[in-house]
């Protein structure tokens, strides 16, 4: 088994809203996969289909080599889920919820439970209705992370966490990856995805617009270059792959298609390079580029 999740051509409509429109998603076993998209893109809907909570209209979805709708119980024994909007029972304490969900999943590691509670600084004696959003999310996270499962499905798990807890979360996910678990991490916090994910899929309006490793995605984009040269350059504007050129005497700033980087740098060195900075595109730029297509 090499793919923990493979989804293709997935469609799902709610009345007139087309939430998923031929979505593709492949998550390889053992990787942390970032699932990116703006609000309403269909991330939660995809995850609910994968959990057998919604039934797809068309397309195929496979989860851990099973059918998420038919083999629900067997599959759920092997995964843990943190919903995007965690609601708890008002009069159950956080500790009770963690234990209950863990036991239903077939038991949880008490040592790990204790250490997670401490790391996330969570008071397990509070009742569900008194937790803040972030603390409710921590309850669900501790319950999921303390279970011994192959696959973690996390739907925007850090949207209510403060930066300190966000750092703890990243540590935990890094450990999970080292332990060989597969993680599907839906998020729109780019720094988090950049720090944690081996591969990402970017979706928009129910469709996958890009997928691959971060460097693969970057390959298709541009690097920003700023250079101070010994003499004013010529012919730069005419070079294939150079964009947004700004030249003031011997200083130049421009962006270049990554596949042309080599040729353009060779050209620059012929004018004598005094200093040079290059910035690979941030995920944010990738993200914005895909999203802004929406506006076009």
């Amino acid at each position: 088994m090499t793919n923990a999740i493979s989804v293709s051509g997935l469609c799902k409509s709610f009345g007139r809203t087309r939430a998923l429109d031929g979505l593709e998603l492949t998550v390889r076993t053992g990787e942390v996969h970032g699932f990116l998209g703006p609000n309403g893109a269909g991330k939660s809907t995809t995850i609910r289909v994968l959990l057998g909570l919604l039934r797809a209209d068309a397309g195929t979805a496979r989860l851990l080599d099973g059918d998420p709708w038919r083999d629900t119980a067997e599959l759920h024994r092997r995964l843990a889920y943190v919903p995007g909007d965690v609601t708890l029972w008002p009069n159950l304490s956080g500790g009770e919820v963690i234990d209950l969900l863990g036991r239903l999943r077939g038991g949880l590691d008490q040592k790990r439970r204790a250490s997670l509670l401490e790391r996330f600084d969570l008071d397990p004696t509070k009742k569900g209705r008194t937790y803040s959003k972030g603390n409710r999310q921590k309850v669900a996270l501790v319950a999921a992370l303390a279970s011994d499962v192959e696959l973690l499905i996390l739907d925007e798990p850090t949207s209510g966490l403060d930066p300190l807890m966000e750092a703890v979360f990243r540590e935990c996910i890094a450990e999970e990856r080292d332990n060989g678990r597969t993680v599907l991490l839906s998020s729109h916090i780019l720094a988090e995805v950049e720090a944690l994910c081996d591969r990402v899929s970017i979706i928009r309006a129910g469709r996958t617009v890009d997928t691959g490793t971060l460097s693969e995605l970057r390959h298709l984009t541009r690097t920003a270059i700023a250079a101070d040269l010994a003499q004013p350059p010529t012919g730069l504007a005419g070079l294939a792959g150079v964009h947004d050129l700004v030249a003031e005497d011997s200083r130049v700033r421009f962006t270049v298609d990554n596949e042309r980087l080599d040729a353009v740098l060779r050209h620059l060195t012929t004018f004598g390079v005094r200093s040079l900075t290059s910035q690979p595109p941030t995920l944010e730029e990738l993200f914005l580029r895909h999203y802004s297509e929406e506006l076009v």
Binding site: L53, R55, R103, L104, T130, A143
Partner: protein, 529 residues
């Protein structure tokens, strides 16, 4: 005055949110009295026939259920017949509406969004009370106009309408105060409903025994207005004073507490779950436990009180020729009369127990809509197993409630006539025959939950409301036979006294099973959410 800023906008929002619910309540409450009066007019066209029924009504069992009849006139008879139903309905409408627009909004966090806008501290409560006040005003006006329309005296009609509206307002104020005490809407409704139950019982006991107890009950105040029987207006003053005091309490409490918090302290829970909390059924029990215990206490008290009241029947009837006459016709003497009373009581007990059945069954939908099912169904727990866990609690809970009401009734009556051993099994049976009918409502709720989840709550409550109305006035309104028979409760043998036939009970159980199976099948193949 900035504490009240935004009241108007919130009131309009509440009216919009309740645009179906409130008019439905108001129409039922507003039109039932006129329909009753019109029917009585047909049934008892002259003085003589009215005198005849009026004699029968002095029978203490009927007094315990509906209160005393103040005047042997068409108006008096109408007010007696429908008064209790109207007061209870107006109280329920009001307490549910107030909690829905105060504590429920706060609990879900929606109020935080609103309060952060240009909205004063007191605005949400004021808006809720305004809207509820408006609904009660509409009820009062409709009731009065309807009764005048059937040709009853104006003074009596207005008095009855105002009494209905004021009972509504009292319970709006009760709910307003209750909503400040706890931090959950569910408990606020439970507290206010317990006050309503106590008000009914105090009146029932007071009307058959120590009269002063009646004066502790808002329903007693409304009755003592004596609509159509030489109206007395000052009890309305008592009601108004009650509203004023409770409203002041509610506003004071709002001023003292934080948004989202209650006044009763929030206790901490255990850091670890007890070893038993490891299955959907254990969770369902945990979630239903509080509600069921509250109901058990209420049912035990009601059963004992209403059963005990049966002991007094017959003590007062010797002097009454109409009752002696009725007894002769029933053919069983005093025993038959008591049995008729007990059968009526347990008919009501069955319907009231069905309120619990519906509440407990609809928990399925509440859990789903609240998003609390998703994390459970993302574990190996299957849908059917989860849904069944709540249904088991609803069905068994109803069984226990009826058993407790029957046993308490048998004890209450048996102690009076020194026959505990004989009466307890009889009344236990009288309570338990209601079970299949109450279960049908669990079936209805389950079927709707599986097949039309968004409509489940509304339609299931409407179904129970229809059963109540058919029970109260169906036969009297001369509705066609098949309509009256649509209520499962129409098929329950009238125990004690009547013969038990198994067929209707088995049929009702089979219907329940079929509905539940249909609901579960629907739930298994539909989207969650």
């Amino acid at each position: 005055m900035t504490s009240f800023t935004g009241t108007g906008a919130l009131a309009r929002l509440a009216l919009r949110l309740d645009r179906v619910r409130l008019p439905a309540w108001v129409l039922v409450i507003g039109l039932t009295p006129a329909a009753t009066a019109a029917q009585y007019k047909k049934l008892y066209p002259d003085e003589h026939t009215i005198q005849q029924v009026a004699g029968v009504i002095t029978n203490p069992s009927l007094v315990a259920l509906n209160g005393p009849l103040f005047a042997p006139t068409l108006g008096g008879l109408t007010a007696w017949k429908i008064g209790m139903t109207e007061f209870v309905l107006a109280a329920l409408m009001s307490l549910l509406t107030v909690v829905r627009h105060t504590r429920a909004e706060e609990e879900t966090g929606r109020l935080e969004l609103v309060r952060a806008g240009v909205v004063g501290r007191y605005a949400p409560l004021t808006a809720a009370l305004l809207v509820t006040g408006l609904a009660n005003l509409a009820c009062a006006v409709l009731v009065a106009l309807g009764l005048v329309g059937t040709g009853l005296p104006v003074t009596g009609s207005v008095a009855f309408g105002v009494a209905v509206g004021l009972v509504g307002l009292v319970f709006a104020a009760v709910a307003a105060a209750a909503a400040q005490l706890t931090d959950s809407a569910r408990s606020a409704v439970a507290i206010a409903s317990a006050v309503l139950g106590a008000a009914y019982l105090l009146r029932a006991v007071g009307d058959t025994g120590p009269t002063w107890l009646t004066w502790l009950s808002p329903i007693g105040w409304a009755m003592r207005v004596r609509a159509f029987a030489g109206e007395r207006w000052w009890p309305l003053g008592v009601a108004v004073a009650g509203v004023a005091v409770l409203t002041v309490v509610a506003y004071t409490l709002v001023g003292r507490r934080d948004l989202g918090a209650g006044l009763l302290p929030q206790r901490h829970g255990p850091a670890q779950a007890s070893p038993g909390l490891r299955s959907p059924l254990a969770l369902a029990w945990r979630l239903h436990r509080g509600l069921l215990i509250g109901w058990l206490i209420g049912m035990a008290l009601s059963g004992a009180v209403l059963g005990g009241a049966a002991g007094a029947i017959g003590d007062a009837i010797g002097a009454n020729p109409q009752i002696t006459d009725l007894m002769a016709r029933l053919g069983g003497g005093r025993k038959a009369l008591v049995d008729a009373y007990l059968a009526a009581v347990f008919g009501i007990v069955g319907l009231v127990a069905a309120v619990y059945t519906v509440q407990a069954t609809l928990r399925l939908r509440a859990e789903e809509a609240g998003g609390r099912v998703e994390p459970l169904l993302a574990t190996p727990v299957g849908r059917i197993r989860w849904a069944a866990s709540h249904l088991v609690v609803a069905l068994l809970g109803t069984t226990v409630l009826l058993a407790v009401a029957g046993s308490a009734g048998g004890l209450g009556y048996g102690l009076q006539i020194h026959d505990v051993g004989g009466q307890t099994p009889r009344l236990l049976a009288a309570a338990l025959v209601q079970l299949p009918a109450a279960w049908v409502l669990a079936g209805l709720g389950a079927a709707l939950f599986g097949l039309a989840p968004r409509l489940a709550a509304g339609l299931t409550w409407a179904g129970l409301g229809a059963c109540l109305l058919l029970f109260e006035v169906g036969a009297m309104l001369g509705l066609s036979r098949w309509l009256v028979d649509a209520s499962p409760f129409a098929h329950v043998p009238k125990l004690p006294g009547a013969a038990v036939t198994a067929t209707p009970l088995l049929a009702l159980t089979a219907i329940t099973v079929a509905l539940i199976v249909a609901g579960l099948a629907g739930f298994r193949s539909r989207d969650l959410g």
